[in-house]
Symmetry: C2
Subunit: 353 residues, 2 copies
């Protein structure tokens, strides 16, 4: 394995000193880039792109060619795991992800099993290996998964949802079934992430996109508990280096202190909580990643620079901050505006180190 | 004006003792009721229903015929105000509200004016008068409006939105324009709510459905500040009684203490913040309304009863609690489940008073 030429991202996650605040953007490999749209058109469907390791590698590297980012993130989809569990993932144009076989009764829940990463998700493992080889140590590679609760919302609803009636109906009426599904899914995610580490992922992120739609009690019992179980089951060292784990619950600002107790290395923070407040809540014991409102990228480069400055100032002095958006970059953002964000972090952050 | 036979709702909002925790449900007059769907079909479109005072009165009263609720809420839509400002509201089937003339440039912002409630929104004022007459003092009538920020999201986007790119693009790039639009809209909402009070509304609620998508700084500057301005401009007494004002920012759990400073009488709380925490944050200085997850109504009546008990227990002993959902009741809820909620509040809450 090649030596890492830029390890700012890993160092900040481990609270080690850095010269500049590291920066990457959620969904940095995505539709806002014309070169992504070109590769995607060549691949066929979105799922074809995810399942082709060479093309997944190609789009993973595209944003790094444009911007001096400090990390790459595996191009994939959070729903590969339920797909490998037999749910039959497909994407209907303009309507997002769907499952042929949603999990809506006891029989379907009891039938769920834990996929083998190399056998059932070999295309992801192969993508990780290919990307690591092509990255050649430029920056670290982040592997990721959806959280069990977030995956369960799609698995039960069979698609994206607004109200989450079906999955919460099951949660309230059959908590036993919901816990069984989340347990199996947590084991699947643990194996999947450990597979990614074995294949070369140098940091891991768990996306809990829908934990924020739960009550505090239900969040603890049905989302946080299973993320904690995953964190405990992960291989935390590889190639002689610690593999940091980032947890991100969108809308989870009220629960950061509890999330910090899971043993993860860092928390993602969305823009509805100031980093100063997040740092206070977590006592500086772990790193924070975020948290520019992605909508700022619709404003002028000058405004983007000012808002980047505000986020840096909110975190304050010292290591432990990974600059990011508070959610994925929007498909209709001008790539020059993403460049302005990265440039501003590089220009303005050295004063904080 | 008739004497009020049941004033539990108003008493709890003013922190006066009550025998039973008052209860109503957001969107209690709505699609989950077959009798609503029947009236709606007779009316024609949703907007026809809103604009017909007799039919608006009919659907307002429907849930009171079924359940022993402690308040009625005017049947209307939050977008009547921008419609009266000339934006041309319409509803496209299955796609929600839209405007013929969204506000997307400086000229459109500068052209905005404050509608006269009786002249330009006479159908709402007439609905309030009709409902008050037909209610005949059974329970108080709640008037309402959207918050300026929430109205602005629809006014700029021209429809519902997922990312709020356009309205936030304007907020970041042209804060001067955004403040102008919010100022005019706040004046419009103030006049509209005062008109409702003059017509007979006995309490007021401001729905800030989209304040929770802002950063803490932007929430204060672009949403909370304008709600505070409205609260200061409202007529707070009518017919010899105080007219309480409830503010509700969905996703605003982190900002309850700041919301309490506006001078309102009560805060709506969604289910992502426990009432015990909300009561701690606001020091018991004002009433709280909420906060059952609307998805609980998809579970069995026995589970609904347990969850109602949890919400009551979370608020704890004493007055100042108005039981409600944390968001509007879903259209696919079984009305018998709504009945179970109301019954549970009546059965379980006396122990707390």
């Amino acid at each position: 394995m090649s030596n890492l030429k830029n390890d700012r991202f890993l160092r900040a996650l481990l609270l080690e000193p850095v010269d500049v605040t590291p920066v990457w953007m959620m969904r940095q490999a995505g539709r806002y880039l014309p070169e992504y749209r070109e590769t995607r058109a060549r691949a066929g469907s979105f799922l074809d792109l995810c399942k082709n390791p060479d093309l997944a590698c190609e789009v993973t590297l595209q944003p790094l060619e444009r911007f001096p980012l400090d990390a790459a993130i595996l191009f994939s989809d959070i729903l590969t795991v339920p797909d490998a569990m037999g749910l039959g993932l497909y994407f209907s144009e303009g309507e997002g992800p769907r499952f042929h076989n949603p999990v809506q009764d006891e029989q379907a829940v009891r039938a769920l099993g834990v996929p083998d990463p190399e056998q059932d998700l070999g295309y992801v493992m192969e993508a990780v290996r290919t990307i690591r080889r092509e990255l050649d140590g430029r920056v670290p590679l982040i592997g990721f998964s959806g959280s069990p609760w977030t995956l369960a919302t799609y698995m039960v609803e069979g698609a994206g949802s607004k109200n989450f009636s079906k999955v919460k109906g099951m949660l309230f009426d059959r908590p036993d079934l919901m816990h069984h599904m989340l347990g199996v899914t947590a084991d699947a995610v643990t194996a999947y992430l450990n597979g990614q580490v074995a294949a070369g992922a140098q940091a891991l992120m768990i996306f809990d996109t829908w934990g924020g739609v739960l009550s505090p009690r239900d969040y603890r019992a049905f989302s946080l508990a299973y993320m904690a179980r995953i964190v405990k089951g992960l291989k935390r060292e590889n190639e002689g280096r610690r593999v940091p784990v980032i947890l991100f619950t969108k809308g989870g600002g009220q629960w950061l202190a509890q999330m910090a107790e899971t043993g993860c290395d860092a928390l993602g923070v969305d823009w509805t909580t100031d980093l100063s407040e997040a740092r206070r809540l977590t006592g500086g014991r772990l790193a924070l990643q975020g948290n520019l409102d992605p909508c700022v990228l619709h404003a002028s480069p000058q405004r983007i620079r000012e808002e980047v400055g505000r986020v840096l100032e909110s975190y304050g002095r010292g290591t432990g901050h990974v600059f990011n958006l508070g959610h994925g970059i929007h498909p209709d953002v001008n790539p020059d505006h993403a460049a302005a964000l990265v440039q501003a972090v590089h220009d303005l952050s050295p004063a904080y180190h």
